[in-house]
Symmetry: C2
């Protein structure tokens, strides 16, 4: 289960509350792994009872009428993170709605198919830009998480840390680019098929 490891990995940059972790998941470009807040809070409690993280209760505001919980890695948590990174996992199963649906576009009229491809293209264009920005921020070491991480790591490791992260997000950029290209070829295909149909129905 990768949510737990995503959390351990984020906590390696230092103490964070559930709320801050949730933000990393769904606001920033760091969300290589999607998770909702109920799942995150639940998982943090589980990690705590498994002894992989510890929680420190902090007052919220000066009146201390409510508390927040800041989580940090334990020794066991760090060890588990190391173990997981080295472990070779069975490849993930394919489960791709867009592709599944595209296999049956014959059932939809050309206008609808066009809208499907356009929405696919627009989505991945946006993703591509988002990830390109993130790669740029990593290169110039301007993300908050990376700064925190570099602050607690020895100087000589900095280059390696940055290089692997850049490579990972660069992969996402390429992937998004591939999807955009696929959608654009799809749009061209719709045009082509329509032209063929027209010429077949009214030959000269």
């Amino acid at each position: 289960m990768s949510l737990s490891h995503a959390l351990l990995a984020l906590l390696d940059a230092g103490e964070m509350t559930g709320y801050e972790l949730a933000k990393q998941f769904d606001q920033s470009a760091d969300r290589v792994w999607h998770a909702t807040h109920p799942q995150i809070y639940t998982e943090l409690r589980r990690l705590e009872s498994a002894g992989l993280v510890t929680a420190r209760e902090l007052p919220r505001g000066p009146k201390a009428k409510a508390v927040k919980r800041a989580y940090a890695l334990t020794e066991a948590g760090s060890a588990e993170l190391l173990r997981w990174v080295a472990e070779i996992e069975p490849p993930q199963r394919v489960r791709d709605v867009a592709c599944l649906k595209a296999t049956y576009f014959e059932y939809a009229d050309p206008g609808t198919v066009r809208r499907q491809f356009e929405s696919h293209r627009d989505h991945f264009r946006e993703q591509q830009q988002r990830w390109e920005r993130h790669v740029e921020q990593l290169r110039t070491r301007r993300t908050e998480l990376l700064s925190r991480r570099l602050a607690v790591a020895p100087q000589e490791d900095h280059e390696t840390i940055v290089a692997y992260k850049v490579h990972a997000y660069q992969g996402l950029v390429e992937r998004a680019r591939t999807e955009v290209a696929w959608a654009e070829r799809g749009l061209a295909l719709v045009d082509e098929l329509e032209a063929q149909r027209r010429s077949r129905r009214a030959p000269r």
Copy 2:
């Protein structure tokens, strides 16, 4: 939920038993959507009680000591399939273990990282070849499912049906290619980082 629609789509090629459907999911290259057999049998029963498919009980073998159930689309099932194909769904959330892990490769030694990238590359090379073969079979109309589907569709639609399926699987080929390229750049990166480290530790 896309499993139900994957099943409806497969059944559009004609009557099939749960066992045959399960084979389409995990044996053939058609598995754009992964599912295990318990899930498939359960879902078929659900589709049946929802009135989207009907089951016909057939004897298994001549002695008729056991039965199998052949499922077919109902009117409502076909309608639902059409509705689903035209519907524009919210984009899927990213949840990528390989990428998540790659972000933290700094924690592993170069040998381990190399093995990770190699296994990624090998997996997607195999996927790429599998999908290339499948595209070829679709082009020459030699897959069983496609033959069945073409047999029940009007002649003038054949080209469109084949074209969209080829496009969908061609997309998977490109995606696999992108992953292979990413892993190969990863391997180059490991070498580069190691060379840098060596030269820094022993300058000339």
